[in-house]
Structure formats: C-alpha cells, structure tokens
Symmetry: C2
Subunit: 688 residues, 2 copies
C-alpha cells in the first residue's frame, strides 16, 4: 500500500555516496586481492556460477525466515535441502559445487551429517564388503544416515560412553541397550527427524572367557544401524528417537536423542575395517593403530580452522561498510563540522580493524593447516605416522584459537554497529547463533588445548635430552636453541626489534611460546606438579603456540608471494603488523616476562597500533570488498555492497514484517489481544 | 505415551546426590547471606509472596515458548502483560510488586515503556496542568504511551535528530514532519503495535523574527502526541507506524518506526514544565538548566547498574550447579579413579569463579550507585547541583563496565557448560539474547566513557591548579596527593602489599586510575592532543576508574558490615580478593606501568588466584544458592535447585518438543516434506 514514506530518501551524504567516496580513496586492487584470496580450488568461479541459480528459486529467499517458528523453520530447511539435491542432479554439480550452494543458502542442512560424518565413517571404517553394500545406498540418498556418538551424560570423553553392544554368541547378534537415561544418545545431528540409519558408537561387550554370563568391554566401537522404518518413518520397535528441541542456533538441524531397549542388530552391523569379532568364536581382533579410528575428527577440525576466515570476513564486511556510512557526532574539537563516520573514531577502529587483520591471518593459517593435513594424510597412507602427532597438536590448538577469534569477533563487530547491530537487519543474528556452537563442538576449546601442551612438553623433554643434535622440525630446533642459550645463561632480553623488523615479530612470538613451553615442562616434568593443577597454564601455552603459528604463517605467506602488486603488498604488511602487534599488546605482560619484547617497545605498542589503523583506514572498504561476499549470503541491510542501509532497514520493517499485519488490542480489561479479526488471539493458549 | 525410557534413571552419582554432597561440605549460611543480599527494600519477601500467584497461572508457564514464531511470541507476551495488570488490581500490588512479577515472568513487557519512560517523562517534564490532565489517563491505562526519541539515522547524538516540530502561529499548532527517511523514529519500544500515545522528541522550529518564512531551531523538545485511533487502533492520518521486525532478543517488545507527514498537534502537546512557547507571540522560553531535561537517563543507567548483579547471578547459578554435577574424564594422574566434576578443573573455575565474585562486586556497587543517585536527587531538589557531575560520571562509567561484565559473563558461563550450554535447557538463551541490548542502549558502552574521562580531566586540572588545598571529595583528594608526590619525584613503586593487605589492593586500583587520569590530562591539556585521537585512552581510563569503584565499594561494604557471621565474612573476603586480583592480573601490565604493583607481586598473582579458587570451591554451590533465584525464573534444566538435570533435559526433548509430533519425509525425489498427515508441508511456502 503506497503512503507518504515512499517518496522519502535518507539524509545526505547517503550510503551509496559514502561508499563511492571510500572506494575512490584507496589504491587497493580488489580484483587482484580477491583472486589472491579465493581463486584456489576454484572457489570464486564456483561462487559466481552457482549464485544466480540459487537466486532464481523463491524457496531460497531469506526475506522472512526470521519470523518462523522452530517447526516451520525446520520445514523450510528440509524443503530447501531437498531442492539443493535436485539441483545437484540437474546441474551435475560436484561435491564442492553442492557445498558452495549450501554455504550460500546458509542453512545448516538436515542432511549435513549424512553428507559428512556418516559417509566418511563408512568410507574409512567399514570393511570392503560393507562399503560395497552401503556406499551406493548412501550416495543415492536411498538411505539417510547420521552419526550417533555423544550421549546425554558423555561428550568429550568417548571412553565414558554408556550405551552397550553386547555380543550374543547364540544368535550371532549384537544387542544394543541403554542402561540409564544418561546413556541416551544426544546432539546427534540429522537424526532427530530425518535419518533412517545411523552410525552408533557403543561399548563393545564380549563374553569373558571361562566366566559364563560375564562380559568384558573392549571400549567404544562403531555400528551401522537402521533405526526407522523405511515406509512409515517411525522408529523401529525397541528404539526411541526424537529431536532435542530448540537451541541457541542450528534451528534447521534435528539434533537427536536416541535410546535402545535390548535392540538386536546383525553381526554385519559392526564396522570392521580395523577391528572385528569372529562370529564363530566371539573372539575380538583389535585395530593395529587406535589413532586411525578417530582420524576423521582431525579432518573436521582442520576444516573448521579453514572456514573461520569466511565467517569472520562476513562480520567484518558488515561492520566496516556500515560504520563507514553511519555518522554520529561532530568532532569535539570542531563542533561546527559535519557529523563524522563512526569508523573514524579510534574506539571503533580498535574493535574492527584488528579483526579485519585477523581475517587475513586466519586465511593463511587455514591454508597452512589444510596443506599439513593433506601431506600428513599422504604420509599415513604410505605407512609413515611420524607427522601425525604434529598435525593433531596443530589442528587442536588452532581449532581452539581460531573459533574463539571468529566467535568473539562476530559479537565484537555486532556491538560496534550500535543499536542497529541488535536488529534483524544486521545479518549477524543467525551467523552468531549458529557459530556459537563451534567453540564447543569437535573438541571443547578449553579441553583440547591439553593435547597441544602434552605435545610440546614431549618436544621440550626431547630438546633437553639432547640439545645439540639437530631438531627433527622447526619447533624442535627452536626448543634446542632455547635450551642451549639457557645453559649459556643468555636468557636476558633477546633484543628483538618488533617495531622495526617484521621478522623479529615472528621471533618474538616464537620466543614467548618456547619460554612458556619450558615453564610448563619444568613444572610438570622436573617439579612433578599434577596435570590438573597446571591446566590454566597449559591452556595459555596452547594459545601462545597457536598465535605464533598464525603470526608465522601470515609473515611467510607474504614473504613467499610474488604475485601481488606492491600497493596490495604494502597494505597486507600493515595488516600483518596490526594483527601481530595488537595481539602482542593484549598479552603484553606475558611477552615481557618471557623476554620476548623490551619494555620500551611494549610501551610504544598502543601508539603503533593506532598509527597502523590510521594507515589502514582509507583502504578498509576495499579490503572487505576483496573477500567478495555476496549480498545474498550477507543478508544484511547494514552490510550491503551498494550502501542502501536505511532504505533496506525501512523496507524490512515496513513491508516484510508479518507482525504489522495484525492489529492488537491494548486494553488490559479486555482479554482479547487481537482486535478486528476473527482470531481473538486465544489460539496462542492452545500452542502452550 | 509410556515407553521403556520411563523406567530409566541417570547414572550415579546423580544430580541430587551431588548437590547434597556439595551443600553438606560448606559452612556458608545461605539464609543469612540471602537476607544480607536481598532483604533490603523487601525484595526477598516480595519474591516469596508473588511467585506462587504466578505459578498458578497456565499462561505464565515457560515450557514451550521457545518454539513460537515471533508473532505468536508477541501475542503470548501481550496476554501475559494484560494478566499481570489484572493481577495487580486484584491483589492490590504496589509498583514494586508489579515489577517483581514482571521480573519473574521474564518477558520484556509490551507495556514497559508506558510504565517507565512515558509516565516518568510526563511526571518530570509536563507542566502542572498537563500532569493533571494526563496522569489519571496514564495510571488507569486508559491510554497507553511510548517514548519516541531515537531515529533511524540518529541514536546517541540527540542534537542530530531530524524530526521537525514547526510552530504555526496562524493556527497555534505544531506541525510534526519527517523530512527524510532517516528522520523516522526507530527502536521506540511499546509503540510498534501497542501504544496509542507517545512522547515525541523533535527539533522545535520557531519563526525567525523579521525573516518571514524562515525558522530557527531551538533544539530537541518533547511533545505528547496521540498517534493511533482509540477505537480502530489504526495510525491516525499523516502518521505511519509499525514494528521494526525481529531482533537479537526482545521478541516480546514491539520496537517501532514512526514517521509524520505534516501532522498537526495542539499547542498543549509541548511538555512545558521547563520550556515553553508563548502561543500568542511564538516567543520561546528556554529551560534554566538543560541538564534537568534529560535527568531520567541517569536514573535508567543507575537502575541498569543495580540490576546487573541479578542477571549475572542467574548465569553463575546455572554454571556452578551444572558443572558441579557434570563429570567428564578421570584425573590424568589417577586414570583408574572416577570421572571428576568439571568444576574441579582449574580451567572451568577460572571462567566461573571470578564471575561468582563479580556478582557480589556488582551488588555492593549497585547499592552504592543507588544511594549516590538518591542523595544527588535530594540535593538537586533543594537547588544544589554540585554533586550532579559526579553522579553523571559514576553512572556512565559503571553502566559501561557493569553491563559489559554481565553480558560477557553470561556467554562465558554458557560456554563453560559444554554442549548443553548450546541447548534450550540451559536457561541462558533468552537471557543472553535480551541482555545483549544493554551494552548499547541508554548510552553506548564505548561512547559514554568519554563523559567519565572528561570529568576526571577537569578534576585533575583542578588538582594541578592547587595541589595543597583540601580536595572537595575523595577523588580530588587522591589526585592532589598524587600531584604532591609527583612533584616530590616519589613516583617510583608505591610499595603496596596487594597479596598481604586488602586495603592495599584498593589503593593499588586507585593509584592506577589516578596515574591514567594524569596521563590523559597531560596529553589533552598540556600537550593539546586532539580529543578524538585520545578516545582509546579515555575509554581505558573510564574502565580503570570504574574498576576502582567496584573494588573500593566491595571492600568498604565488608569493612562496614557488622551483621554477617564470621564464616560468611571469611568467604566474602576471599571473593573480594578473587575479584580484585583476577581483574588486576588481566590488566597486569597497566598496573605495572602505573607503579601500582610490584613485578614480584604481579608474577605471583596467577598462583594466588588459583589458591583463592581452591578455597572458594567447597562453598560454590551454597554461594549461588544465596542469590535465591527461583527455578521458575532460571527456567534451566542445568541450573535447577534439586539437580535433576538429565531428567529435565530428557523431559523437555521427549515430552515437550512440538517438532516431534511431525513425521518428516526424507526422500529428496519427493517434494513433500511431511509424511502421513494432511499437511504436506507446502504451507511453509505461503509463509515466505
């Protein structure tokens, strides 16, 4: 319905004018930088090719989805997920194409676990015969599977799982049984409403030789189990399954609970590539290397690390564009001037620009993580397991740090947006709600840092053992050098010039991580302190080590690059410095105590950080443009490329908000809550 | 429907067993501490009296509200809010009783602005005649009002508002007009769907004497305006209003947009207690003291500061109870022992216990803030304005710091809960979503710290001016002492014994704030640096000053108290030390540079913090019990008093989740998404 607001325009200078000016003042080549960041693996080509296909489908419109109830939001997600698969068939999309479409639609797919953990587990853990039977069913989606590991009372500690799989030698079956309520499977995605099959992880119980009626646990093993009827889609007898209910985010995912009551499954259900039970004798064969069984967790962690850059880039894109457009207050020393862009305030810059720099740090480290994963994987396939521990440590530490940087970064950006950051037009609500799962899933961010520390303690012990032999890798070599210097009493300030030489910044980060590793080694190995009492220190060590990796890979990537123009290179070097020095300032006292930086340099850090932000300021909009995140994915009035912030906010409120189609009755002495319609609002009571 | 899961119980030791053991091991007197914290103003009596009345009403059940769509969630909130008013009449509740009921039901009420800003503004800014006319209508809820100040393009900077109120001397009316889209009122609560009246803040435009057709702005003024028809409840001609749509939280609040098209309101609409327009001559009388006009903002900030303790206490209650019950992993040095409570891990303690201590710090500072507000208010009523600047600075700095502590604290607690912290049974989802508005509303947390810094710079300038005269208050006295010592070149380390003397902890915090105030004074006043370039430092100064207030009031409250038993006093002193030393450790380098702590003490802080946490550990459950937060308010499976965590989580999933009443069809080659029911799921498309 037309009204007088149709002819109104925002006050000047409006968003498009401001962004044009911002883009005009920078010599950053967006195209070159975008190619540099996103052309590997055909990411950019794929995004450009698939986006228009999605935009044509009304089902993929994001305009009103924030207004739906959880059940309706789930229905929408399922309809979209089915359509994505049909489009995959129609356009003959590769798996990467499909993943791109899923990324752009931005729903966590109800089929996600089928496509990831279910298929991966069968591929990696099933015997050849099992694979031959199951893989065609999985790939055609004739069956839909999930992955049932965690339980109501048991998360990180897989050995503590309660669900039992007892071998019945008489019938040659396993009997799945949940002895307690806490044994209920819990959180298992895609299983609450959708999957008809699942990998089920249970304690394998085998008859104890010579003690009839007694059983011995061989620890958790994986089984492939049909859990729902293929026609009625009801749970099979002896199985209770359902969706666990609303969560912080992930509204579109049917995370499940699942319990079994003496539920019998055949011998062939146990995934038996590495371990097996002889059906005739009931004798167990254990895996040669237990680490192989849970290798896919490392894969998932490496992916999370690699993905973090795109998540944070979304938030930073929105924050930079909007705070450039948003004006508030005159300069206090020029009270007759115009209102200034809030992005010109150092208090806004200090929240957003270090995060802008972080997107690039995450990018280069994500690439490094992926290449370490791939080369380790190759080694392992060839029977060489030496690099496994390093990869495991690196992926654990980086998963912890990078998801923390991205999750906290989204919220920091949101708050920097002022009031509109709290509104639905920010584009950050679902992103934040969904991403807040990441600090916890696939290894809790505080828990898994122990693995990094344990690795480094071992490395340090080896360095102390033989400080003068060459180190097997960079970390070892650094540790040995530290020990040699220590023995020579050369531990006083190391003289790094962190304000003058980029290479020295890297060394300073390495020095701090090494010194902390030695402290922890000393307390654990020499002073024999209990592991638990050291946990906080172990966490700090992991953080220091991972920050050192981020800083080191960022520096190395810039040093090795020969493709970027010098103007882009200059600004990337400033971003490197900003990321590193801002991080150093926040942990200043730790660097100081580790003799990794001089007090004089430390005192100058905040001025230097502010100076770097001033240098980066003119390029901010073009730098976020380089991440090439399409408006469709951003789904943000504040962050749209063309800058029409206020028109979009108003459109969402005035034309798209279903609440405005209802007229409410404010009179408290009348029970009806809705006026002038057939519905008096009492329907709400029946929904309770 | 009964099934085999009905007979299942959680594994042992279960929640009730664990909490009984926790409560048995501590000598904290919960009753005494609860009275100490909550008996003032009859808070606890009121909670006890009103809770059972609410529990009897099915409408107030929180069981399924997370599953509703935004429109339905709003309907529910309105029905509840009406019932609350009817109960108020029925039980003759006082305003405080009503507020208690609202707090327990935990919906942001659609009538909130009517009850707060609307009535307060009329009471404080209307003339006697205006009050006589409007107050009876307001108190009887015959009219419902809102407060329309912020605009789409204008938040903190009230002077930048665009809406015009032009005086028409011919008709003796004001003409409200929105010249642009950014002039649209925005965010105004209770106005989107409910209110029929509103305070409207607009630029008062008066004819320029001697220049016909030209107007002069007298700045923003307040008008009381009817905006909707009282019968049809449709917006009046020339007014466009609506709800702005879904937000991060506040689903139950109808935040509005509102625009005017040459909309005429009578002369009597302008609130004229302090300023007025002569209807005959069009001549303007300005307020004697402009500060009075926006005094209610300080009131709201003081309330936010006082409320923060209860918000954080909710999160900490949930976190402490659940992490005591939750067990995960054996001790690494005792691999055959039982799984241990995650609350026994220092890495969990370091996240939760400083926040537990913070609830008490917030409590005492909240009380201090309230008493400063009340005494200043009395002074002002008697014409004495000297304490106004102090109160304004204190409330700005504390609003910024305390809402940050509470908002970040909720999320820290949530992450410490592991996987279940992401679930709907955490009780933290709505709390977090709603509370995340607080760092931004009523003065952005980064913006308003300038006011603290400006105040302290003035104080420091006065101290430098005459260092040897007595200071007018504690801050001034401290500044003068600092200047005297500085002149005597006694600035090297001050010798505070922060690990030995509690009083020295307070002094150390004061020293750091004072030293930072001097730095800022030096840069701004002596070196004439631009205000904008100093913003980050100003923010740090405000934070340091506010932390000093928190530490100082906590210490003084314990020193002054003569009612607590010694066992309670001992644990409160440990909480004081934990709060202060943990804060100090996090800002360690700043304290070090300000000579507020010795390097030796600084190096010992983390061991001391861990030692304090070990001392607090046995009392943790009883300490959160002392906040006496009822299960009904917590609405948390994880945090319930009786510890039946897993039974409650399972009940929410298995019996209360509406998604489980729908059977979905997972076959992608069939478009239907729902199987075996009349609804094939295509209804979802019509909602898009």
């Amino acid at each position: 319905m037309p009204d007088f607001t149709d002819r109104l325009r925002p006050s000047q200078p409006d968003g498009p004018t401001t962004l044009a000016r911002e883009r005009g003042q920078s010599n950053v080549s967006v195209n070159e930088l975008g190619q540099h960041l996103l052309s590997s693996d055909g990411f950019l080509e794929r995004q450009t090719r698939i986006l228009p296909i999605l935009r044509r489908e009304p089902l993929f419109s994001k305009e009103k989805q924030q207004n739906l109830s959880r059940p309706d939001r789930f229905k929408l997600a399922l309809a979209r997920a089915k359509l994505l698969r049909r489009l995959t068939d129609q356009y003959k999309w590769s798996h990467d194409d499909y993943k791109m479409a899923e990324y752009l639609v931005d729903d966590v797919s109800p089929y996600f676990l089928h496509m990831e953990m279910f298929v991966t587990t069968v591929r990696e853990q099933a015997s050849k015969a099992q694979r031959a039977y199951w893989m065609p069913l999985i790939e055609s989606w004739k069956i839909i599977g999930a992955y049932g590991q965690t339980e109501l009372g048991h998360g990180s500690n897989v050995r503590g799982l309660e669900l039992e799989a007892r071998w019945d030698n008489r019938t040659k079956e396993f009997v799945l049984h949940s002895p307690t309520l806490t044994a209920s499977k819990w959180w298992n995605g895609s299983l609450g409403r959708i999957a008809n099959h699942s990998i089920v992880v249970a304690q394998l119980l085998l008859p104890k030789a010579g003690s009839p009626g007694q059983y011995l646990s061989q620890g958790p093993h994986q089984f492939i189990v049909q859990v729902r009827d293929m026609k009625t889609h009801q749970p099979l007898d002896g199985v209770v399954i359902g969706d666990i209910g609303p969560k912080y985010g992930y509204a579109t995912m049917d995370n499940a609970y699942m319990l079994f009551d003496n539920f019998r499954i055949p011998h062939s259900a146990m995934l038996s590539r590495y371990s097996s039970v002889n059906p005739d004798t009931g004798v167990y064969t254990k895996p040669e290397r237990p680490a192989l069984v849970y290798g896919s967790l490392t894969y998932v962690r490496a992916n999370i690390v690699h993905h973090a850059r795109l998540v944070l880039a979304r938030a930073v894109t929105i924050a930079v564009r909007y705070t450039a457009i948003r004006r508030q207050f005159q300069d206090r020393d020029d009270k007759n001037g115009p209102e200034i862009s809030v992005l010109d305030y150092p208090t806004v810059q200090i929240r957003i620009f270090p995060l802008l720099a972080t997107t690039f740090a995450l990018h280069y480290t994500g690439l490094a993580m992926r290449s370490v994963y791939q080369s380790t994987r190759q080694d392992v396939e060839q029977g060489d397991f030496r690099s496994l521990a390093h990869m495991h440590s690196m992926s654990s530490g980086l998963k912890s740090l990078c998801t923390m940087l991205a999750a906290d970064g989204i919220e920091t950006c949101r708050r920097a947006l002022g009031g509109h950051g709290f509104g639905g037009g920010s584009g950050l609500i679902q992103l934040n709600n969904d991403y807040l799962s990441k600090p916890t899933v696939e290894g809790d961010n505080w828990m898994i840092t122990q693995q990094v520390a344990a690795y480094l303690i071992k490395k340090m012990a080896a360095a102390v053992e033989s400080p003068s032999t060459p180190g097997a890798d960079k970390t070892e070599a650094g540790f040995k050098e530290f020990i040699q210097n220590k023995q020579g009493s050369e531990t006083r300030h190391s003289g790094y010039d962190v304000l003058g030489k980029d290479q020295d910044i890297v060394k300073s980060f390495e020095m701090r991580a090494t010194a902390l590793a030695y402290d922890v080694y000393e307390q654990r190995v020499l002073k024999k302190l209990s592991w638990t009492s050291l946990l906080i220190q172990l966490h700090k060590l992991s953080k220091a080590q991972s920050q050192s990796i981020l800083v080191g890979t960022f520096y190395e990537a810039l040093s090795a690059d020969s493709t970027l123009s010098s103007s882009n290179k200059i600004i990337l070097r400033d971003l490197f410095r900003l990321f590193a020095l801002y991080t150093m300032e926040n942990e200043g006292y730790e660097f100081f105590c580790c003799n990794a930086v001089s007090q004089a340099d430390l005192n100058n850090l905040s001025a230097r950080v502010q100076d770097l932000m001033t240098r980066i300021r003119p390029h901010a909009v073009k730098l976020v443009d380089s991440w090439m995140i399409p408006d469709y994915l951003l789904d943000s009035a504040l962050g749209r490329y063309d800058g029409r912030v206020y028109e979009d906010l108003y459109n969402r409120a005035h034309r798209l908000n279903p609440l405005n189609r209802i007229t409410f009755n404010p009179n408290y002495w009348e029970e009806e809550i809705v006026k002038g319609s057939g519905d008096n609002g009492s329907g709400i009571l029946s929904k309770l």
